[in-house]
Symmetry: C2
DNA sequence: TGTACATCAGTGAACGCGCGTTCACTGATGTAC
DNA sequence: TGTACATCAGTGAACGCGCGTTCACTGATGTAC
């Protein structure tokens, strides 16, 4: 039916972003060509440039979309976890477990973290994208720091602990866990790291 | 003096690898051109191909060198740490502290982990390099697992804990810590993650 | 309901540039007799 | 000590290909009167 019918532009744009994200996570931004994206989507090169003014605009849209999605995911999980449990520690622990299960249930190895991909190819991006990336990481720190602070009030840790580092630890573990998972081709590595983080949190506040 | 004098080939080769590693960690393998390397080193393109039969051979040499260097570094640190301390737990803890200090003393942000860089650009490498990368990660797992096993004998943990995951946790934390350090442009993020891992080890075996 | 115009979502052809790779050649150094 | 040959560490020119980007154009859909 849609042979003559015109496409909706936002659909095409979404498809470009979809293929681009997969490709970037597999081989990096520099090695992902516009050519391969348009082949996958089924438009011409000029069609691509109707949607993105240049390759930099694609990068920006890609990262923005990724950060937004990630934020929604975390919001969702920890909101649901806290609905089940109004104690901040146990809510957080439930959230971490839910996250680990979600990752364990993925059919394949996690495709990768765009923030890591951008970080390892910084020279290819303009300042705007680099700043977005930095702010993304800092917002994760803020998110987890706020969980930890609320927990600390009710469960003061017996020994001094670096709370910003402990907040970052989650991001580091997920990020590094994804890399290890991909490198050894074993999808379970990642959820097991999340569970270890959960174990650490328990030891700090309950130990 | 050396205007007419001929260079030693192994020196040139080493220089190529040096520049290549820095470039790859900054922008990825695909975006690192032979052209820029030869400009940096001061030879012609054909000179490059005298040393490496193609770009794939450069990738292989780069990763091999990186893994070898990393192994020597870990061997050194933990051997020295265990000389100071024959208890396996305390030797390991001292080694982790030495490593954190070494990282904290770096003048700049850690330049990056080649294994992560390769992992995030897998499609650009041949099977041989991908396998080397995988084996590198597995050898780290083996190394830390053996530390943990020796510690477990003398300090049996009170609760069950996933020892392979705990071995991987070090790699994940370093890898992720490097990424975060680079992303937020704060070199202290990385050593603080190493210290948190040390904290975790203490809690598991002494808590 | 019909028509004029605007917007959307592209097409098709051309561009210059830089990339990795090849090939024939070279000049300095090392080695054998 | 002199000479012949081999090896080392490159040079210089050329190659074809794919890349990102531009530009003039188009045909379907939406909107105003």
């Amino acid at each position: 039916m849609s042979t003559t019918r015109k496409r909706k532009g936002s659909e095409t744009r979404k498809q470009i972003l979809e293929f681009a994200e997969a490709a970037v996570l597999e081989k990096g931004f520099g090695a992902t060509s516009i050519e391969e994206l348009i082949t996958a989507v089924g438009i011409t090169k000029s069609g691509f440039f109707y949607h993105f003014k240049d390759k930099g605009a694609l990068a920006k849209a890609l990262l923005q979309r990724y950060l937004d999605r990630e934020e929604i995911l975390f919001d969702d999980i920890f909101r649901r976890a806290e609905e089940l449990n109004d104690d901040p520690l146990h809510g957080f622990l439930v959230g971490l477990k839910m996250l680990a299960e979600l990752l364990a249930d993925l059919p394949e190895t996690h495709p990768g973290c765009l923030v890591a991909s951008v970080t390892y190819q910084e020279q290819l991006f303009n300042q705007e994208v680099i700043d977005m990336n930095r702010n993304g990481v800092l917002s994760w720190r803020k998110r987890f720091r706020s969980h930890l602070d609320r927990i600390s009030e009710r469960y003061p840790p017996k020994t001094d602990i670096d709370m910003d580092a402990m907040a970052d630890m989650f991001s580091a573990l997920v990020d590094g866990g994804i890399t290890l998972s991909k490198a050894v081709k074993d999808k379970d590595v990642l959820p097991r790291q999340v569970m270890l983080y959960r174990d650490f949190v328990k030891r700090v506040f309950l130990g």
